[in-house]
Symmetry: C2
Subunit: 300 residues, 2 copies
Amino acid sequence: MPVLVVGSVALDHVKTQSEEHRDLLGGSASFASYAASFYAPVRMVGVIGPDFPEPYRALLSRRGIDLAGLEVTDGQTFRWSGEYEADLNNRRTLSIALNVFEHFSPKIPAAYRETDYVLLANIAPSLQAKVLDQIARPKFVVADTMDLWIEIARQDLIALLGRIDLLILNDSEARLLTGEANAFKAGRKILAQGPRFVVVKKGEHGAILMSESETYVIPAYPLEEVLDPTGAGDCFAGALIGYCAQKDDATFATLREAVFHATLVASFNVEAFSLRRLESLEAAHLDTRATRFREVAGLR
Amino acid sequence: MPVLVVGSVALDHVKTQSEEHRDLLGGSASFASYAASFYAPVRMVGVIGPDFPEPYRALLSRRGIDLAGLEVTDGQTFRWSGEYEADLNNRRTLSIALNVFEHFSPKIPAAYRETDYVLLANIAPSLQAKVLDQIARPKFVVADTMDLWIEIARQDLIALLGRIDLLILNDSEARLLTGEANAFKAGRKILAQGPRFVVVKKGEHGAILMSESETYVIPAYPLEEVLDPTGAGDCFAGALIGYCAQKDDATFATLREAVFHATLVASFNVEAFSLRRLESLEAAHLDTRATRFREVAGLR
């Protein structure tokens, strides 16, 4: 089954302690769509300016991502610049230029309106809601979010919770949203506000999947070298919904496996800047790491 | 096979945001011995003053812990006082009174000197070394440590690393000891200094077991309520070596299972102050939670 991904498309400037790269392909929709494409056909909706590099469009197309919903408007493509501390868990946003994103209102092409699997990748909750307004009875809607929206658009986000099946956020965001330091308690509070499922990501410490009656915990894939964590969360969300779409199922049992695959794809993404590691990723690499992951974590 | 546990015995004063308790049974040897006793016969070595409450001695004896090595000397029992923030990961030591512990030099009873499984629970590395001086060719030596010793007795600790089989420490301590923010890299640096195995504990995020050629990662058991984390690390170490002694084996495969059981026992310990939760713990409770843990973490 196809997946509809709506989110941001950006040109990133990323600094780590060892490297600095400009004009990288970034944005939540780019990472999520690319990750999802390993599991299912992807329909991507976003906005760019005429300055968006053709090789980046080609990169997405090569994975079969349908770009009919990638709107081009006058102006510059959204730009984000960030810097990581030596501890890659800590990131500082250096600058944001919304550009064409400032007046973006997602328009879902008619051919996409009956997509069953919808990922509202990380953008403002009000835009995520506008996407849902245009979709006819999707089977499974996943929304990603970030601390910024919890701080400046909390009411929009809470309204959205009643319209989605699964919310993905990280542990510090779960704490910010609910006031609960305990990730499981925070997850339970989020479930009480609407979604049937919640995933709390913990970066290098793994992830938690919860429904009202079930819990699943998984460690992260062990990595000694992390080059750039940018987009890992987006890749996680993309692979998760891609896996569900492939199975055409979103029961808890399938979601457990989806979280496993999401963890796996995210583990590749952090090994290089932008989408560079995923660009050379083959199904065989995923299979090999899946086997090793099951072994080192003693998973069934 | 029996386990020899050497460490501190204390009377604790613990404050959390919701409760405060004085004169609790505490100390690394108390927690570790009690946890180990669920898996193997335990021989405990430590020091107390005549003020040590008889009910605490009885508590340890009831689990069959051999207290022939629990020395009583003139003076007061070691006292520790600490306070937890709302986030239970953050603890402040309010006061320490070493008392009889100040001049403690562990004396291993003759009958204990051929114990094959030895846990050097958290005490000064120089004292841990003195224990090893008195033991004839143990099969498996585990040492626990803490940030304090890394800061004030680093050379003693590094010297000890060449004499033990497994070092247990938490992630912030591993970083402090090695300068590596990545837990796997830190673990590898520790292995290069002597021990065949290292366990990096991550509290609510689980634990990592490493040898030079193998890695095992496990999440923590999901808990929504944590009352008092004091002694969780000691219980982890005690259950780990207890399990190895029960199997009379310390291969990587057995250590994986040992880490699973260590995680399990620690998860009970944090549910109440001092050893109160373990006091009422029965084998059936451990079995039930083990089954549930395997289920929620998808473990084999």
